[in-house]
Each structure stands twice: as structure tokens, then as C-alpha cells.
Amino acid sequence: MTIPTQSDQQHAQETLAFIRRTMESASTFTPVSGWGLVACGAIGLVAAWLAWAAQIAADLRVWIPAAAISVVFASVANAQKARRLEVPVWSGAFRRMVWVMTPPILAGALLTFAMLVNDAPHMLPGIWLTLYGAGVTAGAIFSVRAIRWMGVAFLALGALALFTPGLGLIALAMGFGGLHIIIGLDIVWRHGG
């Protein structure tokens, strides 16, 4: 047996670390922008306030534009962060994240329509929070850990809203407003912006 030299050993350690680092950056989508999430949270709070003013918790005239604006804000912020970090935006990890998150979001749209047809709008806050939570929790396997906790917290708020529909609007404000802001600030703090 040949005894490896000190430099062989160092090289092996360093090489394994390099392989690991490379595999990690190829499979995780790190540029989730904390500021983007904070912006989504602010939009969520404004939407919740408008819905409260209109006395309709799941007011589609409020929440659909809010969701659309949030997607735009989050996308721009993510793209900017990716450019700053010099990592690909539309990476394999991000593509997979979008694919994993799309089915629950589509299911949410379908259930929204079904609930409106069946005259059960009080179920909407719970359905939105639960399915968004499901999508985020699943998509988080490709991203930083904070996102997974955000998903789980959305699921919990969804459960609350499903079984106590009277708290629907508060749950929406806490989820789409509060959780986005808290997790967003955590990402800003821990992952630089």
C-alpha cells in the first residue's frame, strides 16, 4: 500500500469540499430575495386592510391583483439578487422549484372557482393559505431552510382558517402579510439581501 503524503491528503479533502460545494450550488436556488418577500408581505398587509374595509375577507378584486403584483415584485427582486450573486436565475433548481409549486397553486385556483360556484367563499382564506403553504413547503427542498418553515407556518394558518372561518381575514393578514415580512427579514439578515 502506498502511504498518501500530507499534500495528497490535503488535496483529497479540499477536492471533496469543492465537489460538494459545486453540487450544492447546482442544486439549490439561493437567490430568494429577502427584500422581495418583505415587499410581498407589505402588499399582503395592504390587501388585507382593503379586504377588511370592503368587509369581504376573500375579496377577489383585492387578492388577485395583490397576488399578481407580488409575483412581479418577487421576480424582479430575485433576478436582481441573482445578478448580484452572479448565479443563474433560471437555474435547474429554480425550474424544479417552479414545477413543484405550480400544481398546488393551480389546485388553489380550481378550488377557488369551485367554492364560489358552491357559494362557500368563507372557505377561501383557509384554502389559499393551505395550498400556498403546501407549495412553498414542497418547493423549499430546493432552497434555503427558512422558506420551509414559512411553508409549514402557512399550513398551520391554513388549518386555523379552515376550521374557524371567522378568523379567515386575520389568518390571511398574518400569512401573506406577517409571515412574508418575518421570513423576508430573516433572509435579508442571514443570506444578505
Binding site: 498518501p4 469543492f18 453540487m23 443563474p88
Partner: protein, 107 residues
């Protein structure tokens, strides 16, 4: 890196840092574009294409070319051969560390 009796047995093709990077990145994701690889490995167009071609010639990676929005898009994928090569290389690194540890314990 100075070659020693131990490193002589290594797969020279992926021993080179950038080629090892390409194979590692592709082992983590199924298919990756030229652009993504370039950014992950923080290298230049020229460097990446030279080394990718070597890996392609060895049958370690597969290249597919297509058009997206009228722009040519090159995508890379790891072949079974490439996956085996990376596994062999990792085994080698592991052996080096195990042997070093054993030598240390014998002392």
C-alpha cells in the same frame, strides 16, 4: 498539484479542476445550460467550451443544441460513463483519506 504515487492512479480527465466542476454540477442537476454552468463554475466561455469538449469526447457528458427565442442554446447532461467516473474519483479520494488516517493511527 504535484503528482505523487497515490495520485497517479486518478482519472486524469476529471482530475482537472474545471472538468471536475462540470461533472459535479451535472451530477447534481439533470441537465444544465452552458450559461448556468458558466455562472456556477465562475469561468469564461472559452475555458468552459474547451473542457466540456474534452469531456464530451470521452463520453462523460452529452451535449444537445437547440434554439430558444431564436438564440442557440447548448445544454449538457452527464452520461452513465461520466457518473461512473465521478463515483470512481470520489472512491479514490475516500481511499486516500482512509489510508492517511490508518497511517496516522499506526504511528
Amino acid at each position: 498539484m504535484v503528482a505523487s504515487a497515490v495520485t497517479d492512479g486518478l482519472d486524469r480527465l476529471i482530475h482537472e479542476r474545471l472538468r471536475l466542476g462540470i461533472v459535479s454540477a451535472l451530477a447534481a442537476g439533470d441537465s444544465m445550460s452552458f450559461h448556468d454552468l458558466k455562472q456556477i463554475l465562475k469561468t469564461t466561455d472559452g475555458n468552459l467550451s474547451v473542457h466540456a469538449r474534452k469531456l464530451e469526447e470521452a463520453g462523460y457528458i452529452k451535449v444537445s443544441k437547440s434554439f430558444a427565442d431564436r438564440k442557440p442554446r447548448t445544454a449538457y447532461q452527464l452520461t452513465e460513463n461520466g457518473r461512473r467516473a465521478l463515483k470512481g474519483y470520489l472512491d479514490n479520494m475516500e481511499t486516500i483519506l482512509t489510508e492517511a488516517r490508518e497511517a496516522l493511527e499506526r504511528k
